[in-house]
Amino acid sequence: MDSVMRIPILRLCLPLWVISVLGCATSIPAPEQNPDLNDAASIVRSAVPETLHIADEPFLPAPDINVAIFDVGPDAGETAAYMAVRKLESRLLPGLLREALVSSAQWGAVRVVPTVSPLAPVNIRATIVASDGRDLILDVRVSDITGAEWLALRLAYRETAPSDNLSDLSRIFHVVSNRMRDYWLSRTEVQRSSVISIADMLYARSLAPDVFSDYVDNTGPMLRLKRMPASNDPMLSRVKRIRNQEYLFCDAVDEQLGMLLERAGPTYYLWRQASIEQANWLDQYESMAASRSAGKGGGEFSRMQASYSAYRSYRIQEQALFELAEALDGESEPVVMTTEDAVITLEGTLDTQYATWRELLREIFLLEQGELQ
């Protein structure tokens, strides 16, 4: 942040920076609190993204983190073409958030998953409130498996100049990683271990409720670990094996999303660039128009041409992105999963594939359990 103070646009950025710093100090919620996204302290308006805290080595125990595919917001049912772009963003942006978390080198495995599940101790959910290529507003909530809400932030980001590549956009998620770190460090070592153990037990309970229902106390507002099975418990070993299979699915999804970033990223990036340039041009145009009397001067054609050309260029870019986004939206690649004795092809939307795979894993687990009995 100190380096930010030295940049020439200090006057512009200082208020934003102050809000951001105040936010850092005040918005980390206690576990039992539910942070209000409308609370000013939870809003991060970021023109210059924070510097990412990078750990020399992960804090142990380091929790795994699941980043759910972003919610497209209240207009999800809309059929308008822009929703295709929004849906594309909902799958591209989680990858950038993961990039920021992985770069911080302080967490366990970070995976992008179709939906929140008890697979990992920490889950990140986000909703795209607004996105027009220049302005991006996201509501981000981080919670752990015990029900504790780590933080709730509204990220309001405006890109002032087109960046060199799409990965630069992951910098807006530095603030999420930094605050998660602050929260995690504020927990005692026992609390941290407990979160990870509860996640293990809840996953086991989702497969075998009868066997694993007594390890976690869920009578209070927060889940609490009562006890743990023996480390050599055979049932627990099988749960781990099933869990590894679910990780495999997530890795396959991850790979798909990585490919999506490769295919759609450049076009999305061009659309953002065009949007930023045109929005900046419009800002300049509006300020010029405000400072002169309308219609004065001899540049009538230049005025009209600039206005029409900007609109035409914007629409061409937008339509190219819509087409790509719609093509990608309708295209849900089958995931081929290999188990020990079978190859399973999952089809449909990612959500459906994930639900099918989880159900298959549960059936496999029950079959194996039956054999034991």
Binding site: A80, A81, D132, Q278, A279, L282, Y285, E286, A289, A294, G295, G298, E300, F301, S302, R303, M304, Q305, S307, Y308, A310, Y311, R312, Y314, R315, I316, E318, Q319
Partner: protein, 253 residues
Amino acid sequence: MGFCRALTGCSLADAVYGSRWFISRLVVGYRLFLTALGFSAGMLGCSSSDVQPVMSNVPPPDFSGYWEVDYARSDSIQNQLNSTFREVQREIRRRNESAEKGSPYQGTRLGDVDTLFALAKMAELVAEPTLLEIEQDTQWIRIERENSFALICSLDVTGDETSRLGREICWWDGQQWHFVIQLPDGLNVAHRFTRSGDGNSLAQRTKLSDPRTGHDFVISQVFGRYDPTKRGYSCIETLSRGRVCTTEDVDLE
């Protein structure tokens, strides 16, 4: 009328200069007055949108296919400009006559003549696409225009998309497709598409208006169907001679 002929080939500065010279000969002493008068009237808010966007229940005919402009049946910008200019001349003459008689004149507003010429030049830009590819189904129409953005409209509801760079409204009125683009500086571009009864011709009427001038600039283009796979010639890339094009063989069967 040299500047009119030059309008399609010369720079804007030349065209504007030519127009100013011509007008100055005709309306010595009146130009400032008319400009101020027109501008004032424009500021009072003269709307050029004369059609209400109401979606019709009548199903549209099939517009789909490939269309190319038929120059023989289309307006030329130069002719339209000449025509508009003659109208301006007549208007000025009527005003002169009224002024000489000392009676107040209640004719159409002239507005800023520079803006009118700018509209004409803009019409060239807006009506530039000579090839259209139209896709249509029971719910949507998409008019893909060469080197420009596509005009897309739903049959269910009146389309209305607004951004900071402009607003686009579209609808089917039972006979024509309307696409209206309103830009933030006041320029209004309205396209109407009509298909002939036999389905072989498509008419596009483009109207440009601006609150700073009392005259709209209208240009009509007629398109005929074409088969993009049969252009009368074919080209191949060769290693030694680069791209080589030959006329296609006439199919005698």
